[in-house]
Symmetry: C2
Subunit: 578 residues, 2 copies
Amino acid sequence: MPLSEEETIKMKNNLGRELKNASVKQLNSLCESLRSTIYETVSHCGGHLSSNLGAVELTVALHRVFDFPSDKIVFDVGHQCYTHKLLSDRAERFDTLRKEGGISGFPKREESVYDCYDTGHAGTALSAALGIAKARDLAKAPYQVIALIGDGSFQNGLIYEALNSLKLLHTKILIILNDNGMSISPTLGGVHEVLDELHGERKLDDVALFERFGLRYMGPVNGNEIGELLPALEEAKEALNEDTVLLHVVTQKGHGYPFSESAPMQTHGVGPKAPKSEYSAALGEELCALAKNNPKIVAVTAAMADSLGLRNFFESYPDRAIDVGICEEHASVLAAALATQGLKPYYAIYSTFLQRAFDEIIHDICGQDLPVTFCIDRAGATGADGETHQGVFDLSYLSFIPNLTVAIPKNIAEFRKMIRLSSTYMHPLAIRYPREGEEGEAGTVEIGKFEVLHSTMSDIVILAAGERCIRLANRLQNALREECGKDVSIVNARFLRPLDRELLSSRPEKFVVTLEDNVKIGGLGASIAQFYQGSGKTVLSFGYDDVFLPHAEVPSLMEKYGLGVQKILGELMKYACR
Amino acid sequence: MPLSEEETIKMKNNLGRELKNASVKQLNSLCESLRSTIYETVSHCGGHLSSNLGAVELTVALHRVFDFPSDKIVFDVGHQCYTHKLLSDRAERFDTLRKEGGISGFPKREESVYDCYDTGHAGTALSAALGIAKARDLAKAPYQVIALIGDGSFQNGLIYEALNSLKLLHTKILIILNDNGMSISPTLGGVHEVLDELHGERKLDDVALFERFGLRYMGPVNGNEIGELLPALEEAKEALNEDTVLLHVVTQKGHGYPFSESAPMQTHGVGPKAPKSEYSAALGEELCALAKNNPKIVAVTAAMADSLGLRNFFESYPDRAIDVGICEEHASVLAAALATQGLKPYYAIYSTFLQRAFDEIIHDICGQDLPVTFCIDRAGATGADGETHQGVFDLSYLSFIPNLTVAIPKNIAEFRKMIRLSSTYMHPLAIRYPREGEEGEAGTVEIGKFEVLHSTMSDIVILAAGERCIRLANRLQNALREECGKDVSIVNARFLRPLDRELLSSRPEKFVVTLEDNVKIGGLGASIAQFYQGSGKTVLSFGYDDVFLPHAEVPSLMEKYGLGVQKILGELMKYACR
């Protein structure tokens, strides 16, 4: 039976004492209660459901056995930290999860002393825990450091780099491998096979694989059973006096909720409402259509085939569909190499995760001028996931890479045309788009050619990049008509690189306004300003402010952080309504 | 006895036939001859000596056993490809090594069909070979694919990500692990220990470690003995019908040249002449001085302690000096975590390699606003190493990251002051500098404050970033005085972030010229242009053109790719000499 609401609140508020003294039965009741809170909260706030449901017992057991915040725990990715938030100091505020001004869906040092390290991207927890432990050793402090890492992250190169330095750093941490056989999609690759075999009969050479790195392997234990977890964690804690310990915990993603158990991929990230049309669906459709007639088309992804719209492609063309797991760098080099042999790779990825492959974009793909197409989803502000997931840097970090073409479709119809166009384009190409959009209509698309949407005789032209900013441009246009009767021109600035030099050179307007769903510094506006240097034109660029955007709905982020209609209007009126 | 010159040329020119038919004795003579050519060429052209000397026999044996360019070989890092170049189609041009217009020190697809994949940064070869092999399989082509990888690269996360996808990709390649126990500095970490034990008695669990990933382990063989290599390679080639093979080859870095054998770290990269003063030496001195009185100072590096000037620090403060091997990402997260616990980490790295840690700069260090100091060496054009090693993107990719401060010293004295200042600065800080410079003198340094070097009543001010560009500004100043008697102001624009808003707002000049040793797009000039938007000022920014800079001396690169005095002068005279 779940605890009553009163009992739950009491228990959450008196953790220091009660959690430590609770019986296994009471802890199980607590888990039921926590699970129910998480389910209900995610139902109305959105968030990561199955990963959090799977980690309830494990987190409760950790809070029982260790002393947070004296002891430190780093959550890899951080998409399993809800129970930790409920058990530390955020139970009362938990119904504000992912809402503007509310608590974050990821660990945040600013939010609580119980969060010692911010995460969001995969694979950082082991390095972070080692750094914290090294600092502890230098300070001769007594606390324990724990890294909680899913098996999906164990494919990531960062984890390996950290494992490889365990002996070198001469420190001791507890690594909890939370093995649910899933990352976002089912986990792939050699390491997974090792883990799979450890589930059953422990093979000496598999254990040896881990122990070669200088750690002591313990487990596997059932991570959804408090009764198994408590003694295992006590034993691991004891062993930390001697060794770095890897405790292998097997959990069930979505544990406790039948639908979530059977469909963990669909319930990994859940939104509070159904989205409108998605660019990802169009990507899947267009790539499948291209692949049908062109055997050179290959799709590459890093553990995100479903959310990128590629499920159908993967089922229809399994030979030409490659999911390497959470390995953004490897995926890039692999795509580059496929292209050297005449194939036409499409590498689909979220904007924020592509940051991981920045060097490979430069060194491998653009350095060799290879025809890889990046399909960059979740570009621009992404909303409720917050700082670590905003896609607002890509127009800046892609603006200066030689040989690269960067396209920004105005709607899904134009995106489809860009994908079709890309199939015969023999240079690196990045197409960046948000999650949701309107299908709309599109005219001809040509590399490096902008599209004039509205041309007037006024002295102001707005260059807008992407669907959100074209909508913003239309609102500004209407507002300026109302404010001072001025009708401004609007151009769909659909290529960051190459700029449409011909169009830009021929525009007669004195004032050039740029709008982009990206940080203002270094993106489209900066490139346009440099293009017009010495021309006598005044370039006014608008984009996000120079801060990390917190979690909030996209319209609110635009309004508050640099792309608000009224604020831009105020600026423009200085020039437009004189 | 080495072959005569005539015999050598003949052999090189008739490889297809002669190399295939040569006896082991003849091949050994060829190796002596090649070694001598490499040694002499590097003596006058500079380049990578010890890594190339170590790989002579291995490369000759590979050319004997495999059929290039039908078969494909990817050289990891590429700093061991000289023998390959001599044996393929570049023997006659080998004396142009690393010279402008001559052959590159790294593999280059543009240079020869024998080079199938460009490299320069560590860890890409396995992913690249897998991609090439996958393309071969899709095309049902019959050739073999080889990845030649040093043990140092085996620490890199990219290699692990690629290993982890071996089974998934269902393809077969030959991985040659060129194990010389060195990367640039001696190789560190868990994997190295495994390799070390394999040198001696082959332990089953170590072999199992590799075999878990789905490959067949063969070796170790002495990679400096043609007589051992040929049968081992034949056997490996045969085994490729069934499996992906890892052939473990043990070589001696610098083999054949006593000085290079005993000092491989000093002879890894060799320049044709002794450098002037180096920023790296100053870094080592200043960090040691700081560390003496401040126990919070920690140095972190990714396999480059020597070339970054940190040897003395590592010897004096071993507890606070961390070299994680070629793991740029891990080093960043480790530094971030150390900083969360109140330590003051200095992460020293080359500009081009920091690209690997781009996501971690954003996600871990700046996202958490942690006081990590990046000491970014080899910034700006770096010269003879060519495209893959130029440090010309950092001002662009660091320009838009919230919370980050970016400093650009005008000389070594100012660099010292910045390092001292950094020790009490509690936010992320990047200091970028070239290899060589003048000690010079420096005044007070304050975060975000430019320095006026020369102020006049003219209508032009030059904002110059870094030593090279301040020299360039002085030359432009002199030239403008001569051309039209105009004396322009010069400002040391020593912070890209934050800009000196106060100074910029108060400058009276109508024309603002920016100079930076970085690509023009998205760097200092772009930020200044955005700062002045709507002000009526004309910003003229100069930096490198939008291309990958090839290998050439730095002055020549500046002259030809956007920072030439005459070209800039021509532009400025349009405004200055009207």
